[in-house]
Amino acid sequence: MIECRNLSKIYRNGDNETVALSGATFSVVDGEFLAIMGPSGSGKSTLMNILGLLDSPSGGRYILDGKDISKYSEDELADIRIRKIGFVFQSFNLLPRTSVIRNVMLPLVYEGVPRSGRRALAEAALRAVEFPEDRWEHLSNQLSGGQMQRVAIARALVNNPSLVFADEPTGNLDTKTGERVMAALRKLNREKGHTIILITHESEIAGYADRIITIRDGGIVSDLQNTAVHTV
């Protein structure tokens, strides 16, 4: 579903040019669980932003589901994001002082799903991440970190995207909670067939994926199938 050819990203700041990404070439098939691993500053966030249609590449071609979207406008990209892509962030980014269920329904608001259909979709997503039903009406800021990340995953799933990006999803969680969040992502990949792209700097976390792309100084240094997939 994803095909990248020679993707590059150069940031210009006055006369300084910073190469954040160069010559990234790889493809991702439907249903894959892929980790992009690298130390901070390696360009993995830049790659995720481009793959997640939050940013445009400076060069190369990015073909998503057969369409070259390198030259799409900001609003056209937003339109694809709403239909095909879900995001899970390190810092959760839930709407504060807003109930769990409303947080999960947020993407449906922008997708234009009628009001009557939203709640059922949001409940299904919360069930899929095994979020306890008695906390659906709680406000997001009353939750623990692990619960917040589950809500964020449910939000990423609510519009049934084919592609889910998880940017350091365990970065703000303790090891135990992190493991549970990773298990939840694994389950979604195995059971519902969502393609998941995990961005992390920890090899421990990358170990949950089937395939690990290692990136360093803006270039891909290895692209390996993970033979020892973590199981929980």
Binding site: F89, L95, V109
Partner: protein
Amino acid sequence: MLFSDIILETYIALTTNKARSGLTMLGIVIGIGSVIAMIAVGQGAQQSVQSRIQSIGSNLLMIRPGFARSPGQNVSQGQGSSTSLTLEDAEAIRADVPSLGAVAPSVAGNYQVIAGGSNTRTSVTGTLPAYMNVRNISIESGSFFTDLHDARRSKVAVIGPDVRDELFPEGEEVAGKKIRIKGIDFTVLGVTESKGGSGMDNSDDVIYVPLSTAIQYLTGTESISMISVTVADQEQMDAASAAIRELLLERHDIADSSSADFRIMNQADIVETASSVTETFTLLLGAVAGISLLVGGIGIMNMMLTTVTERTREIGLRKAIGAKRRDISRQFLSESVALTFLGGVVGVVAGWGAAALLTRFGGVATSVSGISVVLAFGVSAVIGIIFGYYPARRAARLNPIEALRYE
């Protein structure tokens, strides 16, 4: 994004920080409220001036002495300062100008008036009984004086209701009572009916005495301060005015009508002059109030800019999820419009209330017109759009990646 979603988001955003939303809205409330109240005061003044002038009668011509000029000099001493009009002029007008109704010459002055223990200073008009018809004066109790009183120079007076209240506060029957004007005893014949009005030109705060009595005992000169004339047919106003002008120019031996020593005014001229004055007054009040509305609008912009900055991460998230620029800008624009619109509603009510209080306790005539209310709503919505546009655009243009990283 559905319209109802925008409304809901706006409601949540505004109620999250109620104190801030309330204070920002207060700026608009004060702005709109003062616009409504000030325009009400202006229009009230306009209406009361017009109705008072119209109550005098619409087929009225008033002839007053013009600017006094010494021969060979061009120094004006002010309107009405000359002593050019005489009783004979009035007689001549009555005799020679056709199609006139009544002709009433009058003199006027301000004098100290005493009755029993009370005293007041008021305007005394010396005139003929015809003045009643010319100026639409009605009698509430007693009677007006007659031509016989004038011929005999009787010391009789007809007083306005305000004068009665001032001099006889007990509310007793006043016909037959004595009052002293400029130290001379007059017998009260009756009281005129109230015509309303206030301020300098109050037709209720006046005393009428026979013209010849006034000339002999009060003013002491033969000159007339005004000749009021009604024209039988309103169509003939201009013709009558021209005929009077010609007659007086001839009688005063003036060849050039531009140097006439008198002025003829008709109702339309007076209404026009008064309107232009009160219109300016209304405009000035409105402009002052408009400035406070502008300040309120700047308050809105300030709050919206703060809100956008505070919610940068939220905006980044919404955009990452798939919100388009217009979704974001609509959301923020709707917040500022909701603030100004609600402020407008409260402001209209507050302004209306302020106008009512001014009328009740300040004695100021006010009139809240539908147009000013509609205008206030329109202006407040427009202010919401204008001052919300820049913050909303700023929010919509945020880069989602940077916004998500914003601390």
